[in-house]
Symmetry: C2
Subunit: 381 residues, 2 copies
């Protein structure tokens, strides 16, 4: 009997966010996963582990076919080269086709993006245009896009609703902003075909509770939680620099909206389910220029809607890991905004999305991953 | 003796705007021209005629070498394919290299852009990213970019200064806006290398006074002057529809800023000359987000700074061609803005640019081209 699962192409499924999305797609029972990944900042091992976690979650006595449906077909390739995307869609034509795409693959370091902008535009914009062109060729019109809260820049109000003006302040943020504009134009050009949802991530953190998959950044982590987790296994003995404690926030340090990676990943399964629902594609709650022009395009925040300061996070990781952090307050960093938190109401209402896992779970799972894999994926004992 | 001319790559030099730019580059005595063109909306004949006009302008007794320096090396190719750009730069490495690029090639029909956005993004964005990447590879850091007044959308004030917010209202306008942002990010990433000037065209019209080169659009012209010129040679006997005569303008019809194509083209030679001048790359007069971040990027309007209504243009073309136009007032067209005129002060001050040709010359030259080439380039008697 053929699997009733729909095939979803997840670009960059071996990465931190992509692997958790792939897992949630498999666990939903509704989707099988194919991916293309260039392993620039990710590891093939992650895909094997995703399959293993999903297989372990099957009921006792599951058939070999059920297990096989959880294997992830992986193309090692580069989506900035159109023919490499085309090959996948071509291969799947004979296997019932690809139902939809979750486009996650991108370069994502804000600082680096200002140093090598051409690489960022090629990987994040040319690649998106390539993907849309190939989808169009093979008549695959369902898309969920990984956007980012960086599209808001320094917003006029916090928590940030989706209707906030889009004024990204980094090259990385502009690649996400432009991709959204491009996808929206494509949706507007053919409302009878295209449907797309952009998900604007706030600060994803944590890991699957199994401790089998998690964030394994190359080099020094750019994000706070993986940095704290790595410190607790002995890296970066110089301790944590905190950039400013004189902001107008409860404890003076910057406040961000951390969302558990499993909540974020589940949001994608909800978005896939929402794509076919005509009623969501209305103008309400969208930024200027992003309102309905007849096209079926919508953007949603994925955040918890709750701010956590740098000191909150250090405390919480200290509890989770038992490690006593050395911190040092230094001057403010150019470009840092005191507070960035999501207004999650729109996703809650229209996607039935709710970030239900708390800070304690996030830190526990982050630490579980880190302590089980002190050197990440490739350097196991 | 080697030619003292610098080699400039003009993308799309066979097109209407590109051919006049190529001619002005050659006439300046400072540049030789190489081009890549896919002849999507242009004709190889234009390049031969540009060379002929430039050669005819040489003083009597010019050497064969002087004449040869006016030949345009043309690559038939597509800049959305990176290897086709790379080949040019590679070929020129042995010939003193390419000094700079004028990036003109693009799809440009506002209406069509909303219907086939993926093609527009591929031709106008992927291509720009490809070009920047290849330039970077070959260490060619001088760029003049063909932007458009469409980046302003419906501006809050008229005449429009460069500091006006950028809020394009069409997919075409967004491709120009994004290209500017991308080029600016690249300039900001390496102020010691990159220099770029974007030129925001208002409404180019007319032709070189020889009547040998001009606008030869495929199908029904989207712009007013070529449409009127073609009507005067017997096409479109149904006459001209005027979309609204109840706007708040002197005669009730929409007002635009028409600039003679030779003035516009000469602006590019001035921009090439300005690129090395450090003092122009300041924040003054630029839109939010386009101010100086240390990078050497600047945008200028190219317009006459004078508005002409639809009825003004019909009158002027009637005088030039002797043709009595049949016009019909119909309802306003969605998206039309009553008035769009350039504030040309910044280009005047910093580039020493001045659109000196008047409306009479524009219409005379338009008609001279049309009457000499009633069927355009490819259908000569």
């Amino acid at each position: 009997m053929a699997s009733p699962r729909k095939t979803v192409l997840i670009t960059g499924a071996a990465g931190y966010i992509g692997s958790h999305i792939a897992l949630c797609c498999l666990l939903s029972g509704k989707y099988s996963v194919v991916t293309i990944d260039n392993f620039h900042n990710s590891f093939p091992t992650a895909l094997e582990r995703v399959t293993k976690i999903a297989q372990d979650a099957l009921p006792a006595g599951a058939s070999d076919e059920d297990k096989k449906a959880l294997e992830i077909k992986c193309y090692r390739g580069d989506i900035s080269i159109k023919s490499e995307i085309d090959q996948i869609f071509k291969d799947y034509e004979g296997k019932g086709g690809i139902w939809g795409v979750i486009h996650v693959a991108a370069l994502k370091a804000v600082g680096e993006s200002g140093e090598i902008p051409i690489k960022y535009y090629e990987n994040n914009i040319t690649a998106t245009i390539n993907l849309l062109d190939v989808m169009d060729k093979y008549k695959v019109y369902n898309l969920v896009y990984s956007s980012s809260a960086t599209v808001y820049g320094a917003p006029p109000q916090c928590p940030i609703p989706e209707s906030s003006p889009l004024q990204p302040e980094s090259c990385y943020g502009r690649t996400k902003f432009m991709s959204e504009l491009i996808i929206k134009d494509v949706c507007d050009s053919a409302p009878d075909k295209w449907r797309a949802i952009s998900l604007r991530y706030f600060n994803p953190a944590g890991a699957h509770p199994s401790g089998q998959i998690g964030e394994d950044p190359r080099g020094r982590p750019g994000n706070l939680l993986p940095l704290l987790a790595q410190m607790a296994v002995g890296k970066f003995p110089e301790g944590l620099k905190i950039f400013g404690n004189d902001y107008d926030t409860p404890d003076g340090t910057c406040v961000r909206d951390y969302i558990h990676i499993m909540d974020l990943a589940e949001g994608h399964v909800l978005a896939l389910a929402a794509l076919p629902r005509d009623e969501i594609y209305a103008a309400q709650g969208q930024a200027a220029g992003f309102g309905s022009s007849g096209g079926k395009y919508k953007a949603y925040n994925l955040g918890k809607g709750k701010g956590m300061s740098v000191l909150n996070m250090v405390d919480a990781m200290q509890k989770a890991s038992g490690f006593k952090y050395k911190t040092e307050i230094v001057g403010r960093r150019t470009g840092d905004v005191p507070e960035l938190t999501a207004d999650p109401a729109l996703a809650e209402k229209e996607l039935e999305f709710k970030a239900k896992r708390d800070l304690e779970a996030m830190c526990r799972d982050q630490w579980n991953w880190q302590s089980n894999n002190p050197k990440g994926y490739e350097n196991q004992a």
